[in-house]
Amino acid sequence: MIEVVKKVAQPHIIVENLNLWYGEKQALKNISLQIPRNSVTALIGPSGCGKSTFIRCLNRMNDLVKNCRIEGKVLIENEDIYGADVDVVELRKKVGMVFQKPNPFPMSIYDNVAYGPRIHGVNKKDIDGVVESALRSAALFEETSDRLKSPALSLSGGQQQRLCIARTLAVKPEIILFDEPTSALDPISTARIEDLIMNLKKDYTIVIVTHNMQQAARISDYTGYFLMGELIEFGHTRQIFHSPKEKSTEDYITGRFG
């Protein structure tokens, strides 16, 4: 039998009793889970179940939302990121995010990647190396090395998304959050991003929200299933897709509802 995950050996992120309200509406209900270091954790669930809201809690993106109230703890490296003395800019440097739609800045490929290191005060002489390294890690350097000064918006959708990943990597995060990173991409670009995510877990802890169940099954080590703001089940991906413990999880992943 495959064991159900309750505690993980090396949690990078520990979430305890997390509740979130948008005004009167409670969007997250008492979420507790541990996200293991150097692994890919996928969050699945029907639209509006709270999975995107949840990952946005991991780098305090919800701070920007009006009338949003949060209770509970999110510990990264045992530090509560909602503590009074936390520098949110530093937090978001540590916890990078890639969004559904590629959103490169309207500037050159090079400047997109260099933007973060520059504002974080990286030496000018070191920037070239940082940009190259980030583009290589995002599997984009070979395709762009001869046109780094070209506009980022001239790249294809898939390339733009890898550029956004390179931009995230350039500020040397520890954790990368992906919010449906391939939903706007064709299958080949999707496959490249999936390969990339699996390679990146050597150096980063990855949390990905996806509507694509096969994608979650293919690339993640752990999967969490959300429904109506609750975390219904969390476990090894193999267990979740092979023999989920909860009927609700089973019904969702087999398409019986949702």
Partner: protein
């Protein structure tokens, strides 16, 4: 409910496996009756059913490959599809062994060398195992599957007892070697059919519980 067509395909797959199971039961039953009574006509009718089984098994395989390629089943659906593939292969082997049994009456002239009492007992237990393994598949009943497989020990015991008896008979009277050898084949075929029933029971336990176990 979404994915109506997909669920219909899963239901159809299950029904097809059960149809193959019913045909296997019939062919095994008639081949045993033919060999016990040395009824050549019944044996020939039984042999003629093999091509229908091949067609049904082929259709099951095609529908499984379609489901895997086009629908990507998950969780209990995936276990159903994988179990159906394995069970249909076991049923096809049971039919193959029964067809071997149905070929025996034509080879034996002038009656058996002994009454087939223990051999009949073996085949009754194997038939019980087959019937209950299929019931367990229908209802996804792991307890029933384990209970059905547990009877394999009785089949094995009878197999060795009849085996020893036939060897002793051949040692005493070499003129019966040809007929006795067919009976040795017969008990071997029945013993193998019971083993395939155990395999089916293992697939049912996997389907019902996601546990991989050996019952053989």
């Amino acid at each position: 409910m979404a994915r109506e067509r997909y669920f219909q395909q899963l239901d159809l797959l299950k029904e097809s496996v059960l149809s193959l199971g019913e045909m296997s039961e019939l062919i095994f039953h008639d081949s045993m009756e033919a060999v016990i009574d040395l009824n050549v006509d019944l044996a020939r009718k039984t042999l003629a059913l093999e091509s229908k089984v091949d067609k049904l098994e082929e259709n099951i395989e095609i529908s499984i490959f379609d489901l895997l390629a086009l629908q990507q089943p998950m969780a209990s659906d995936l276990r159903l599809v994988v179990s159906a593939l394995k069970i249909s292969a076991d049923l096809r082997r049971i039919v193959g062994l029964s067809i071997n049994i149905a070929k025996i009456p034509d080879k034996i002239e002038g009656g058996h060398i002994k009454p087939l009492i223990d051999t009949k007992k073996m085949s009754d237990i194997a038939a019980y195992m087959l019937e209950n393994s299929l019931k367990a598949f229908l209802t996804q009943d792991a307890v029933l599957a384990r209970a059905a497989a547990a009877r394999d020990e009785e089949v094995d015991r009878l197999f060795y007892a009849v085996w020893v008896e036939l060897i002793e008979m051949m040692a005493k009277d070499t003129s019966i070697i040809s007929k006795a050898t067919y009976l040795l084949f017969l008990i071997r075929y029945i013993e193998r059919i019971a083993d395939h029933c155990c395999n089916i029971c293992e697939s049912v336990v996997y389907l019902a519980t996601a546990e991989r176990i050996r019952l053989n």
